[in-house]
Amino acid sequence: MTGIVGYGAYVPRYRIKVEEIAAQWGKDPDTIKNGLLVQEKTVPGMDEDTITISVQAAKYAVQRARIDPQEIGAVYIGSESHPYAVKPSGTVLIDALDIGPDVHVADYEFACKAGTEAMYVAYSLVKAGEMKYAMGIGADTSQGAPGDALEFTASAGGSAFIMGSEKVVVEIEATYSYTTDTADFWRRELRMYPKHGGRFTGEPAYFRHVLGAGRGIMERAGLEAGDFAYAVFHMPNGKFPMKAGRTLGFEKEQIEPGWVVPLMGNTYSGSSPTGFVATLDIAKPGDRILLVSFGSGAGSDAFVFRVTEEIEAVRDLAPSFKSLLEENRIYLNYGEYAKFRGKILMND
């Protein structure tokens, strides 16, 4: 069976707390924390971006896959913060990892769903027998406009997955996508910050698609919530994924291990893929894991994963996600954060 042969996640060391951002704008931090269920978020360093994050995650994935990167036949990075509007992120990565030139590269976008798209296409190529290994990555350093609600959650991080058919660490048992034309959140070319439809981003957007994909894949695969060890959903805030999971019949205990948003924030295309990697820190052979992403515009990609015995051999070949999320954190004040994120008007 085709599946994941290597995986890795990366978040930067810098953090900013909700209190710090709230104080900046005169908002009540407790109201924000209780409303979003987020305490702090990751912040990319001044020399980090979607490409550097993807590269680090990919390196961890190669370490766990124990393959020669030259054997990777395709590299796809999904993001809504590719550093260039025209110039692929993926080509920088292949150079950094010594992949290619016999390689297919494409960048993906679909708001926060771009990572799982990259994963799906990589998986499909290997499944079709087109190549031995293909890599799909979801990574982002998205921004929230100053003073906007999104500023509390938009963060940086990403995960990489190498798909193959031998010594598979996590089998892919089923895939399903649910997509409609729903304009809940968008960013025009040349604009720095996105716009969104307020409460329209809830029921008609996130929940319609996440539940549509979740129900769809479980129906097609003939599975129920009880058949899974863990369920991971796109995490724009702490509440939505919990509500979606409970609605689909999952218990808190199944959702919590992948629910990394309270400390990570929303890493957009990296969100659900990274929550999934967090569950691999602790998953046991035989565990089934549901992954449902969500991208505004809108759509959800769903996967049913099944962990194999191989996980024991590869888990410790790269840092655990928990260690990256919780150790060596450097806290910034708002001024430092604004500088790092390029929000200050310089006299260029």
């Binding site: 009540d28 109201t31 439809g197 307020g198 409460r199 329209f200 029921e203 008609p204």
Partner: protein, 383 residues
Amino acid sequence: MREVAILGVGMTRFGELWEMSLRNMFAEAALAAIDDAGVDHIDSMYVGSMSSGLFVHQEHIAAMLADYLGVAGIPSTRVESACASGGLAVRHALFEVASGASDIVLAGGVEKMTDGADATDALASAADQEYEAFHGITFPGLYAFIANAHMEKYGTTREQLADVAVKNHDHGSMNPRAQFPFKLTRETVMNSTMVAEPLRLLDCSPVTDGAAAVIVASMDVAQKMDRPIVKVIASGAATGAIAMHSRKDPTTIPAVGLAAERAFKQADLTPEKIDVAEVHDCFTIAELVVTEEMGFVELGKSGEAVSAGETRLGGRIPINTSGGLKSKGHPVGASGTAQIIEVVEQLRGDIGERQVEGARIGLTQNMGGSGASCVVHILEGVS
């Protein structure tokens, strides 16, 4: 002028109606009212909407909705008085029928608030733009002034404000069309997010989509129809100073007192005779003030009255059995018409769980902005 009746009523449910547009909602309400009345035509129509222009960029809705309803050709008029648009639309339909100019007139209101507009900004246009809104005041802020003044002058408490929300949610939990059909506790209200001190999130009516419509007919037409009839026995309207700073006493809303006085005089009634009332609780403090303005309680005593249960279902004067604007929702232009629908259904005796036993006379009070306009109707159950 001849006697007038409400022959039919219809409304959408109130809430975030993502799947419905302004025209869909109005059509649903209007067709339901026409159906309920059993009439086969309407002579003209009145549409209340505070700001279809700011919310969905559509003006000229009187004509647009006549067209969309399939009755293009009849006269149609838009009535605007901020949050009093829906009540005022019905008032004008009453005049058209009472005068003999028409026999059957549709009157209703609609507001589509969730289509991406900045609702706070649009709503603020009901205040004095040059002297209030331009300087940053919003509606919660204006009503917070009133609340602070009322608390200082009369000792009205934070708990009493909360009790208005609790009561209205108790009622609203029995209303299948309500936006928030669930109960609240005092603690939940008092711990909700601060919006404009002392008003918290749960002191404020929500942003809502919805439409409501009634069929106004002459009594002769109504009597031929073999349908329940509710007579409109009074319509009183008034205006007041638009800016808070122009008012002598911010604990009062004179337009409300004036409109009510005119209505009671026209009907030859006093507040004690009212069996059930729907009032404009855009904020919890608003319900307290208007209850005093209309003479249901003494000035300054409305807080005690609500906490003592006098204005809840089963109490001395049940107010807002629908759940009020707070629990039922407040699609601005539609609210005034929806109040009339609640009272009509109470007086028909078929409203179900929230029936006020033996209700025969009902009152509606609908006001715009911080009270610069107000319309009060008194209705009597006939059949």
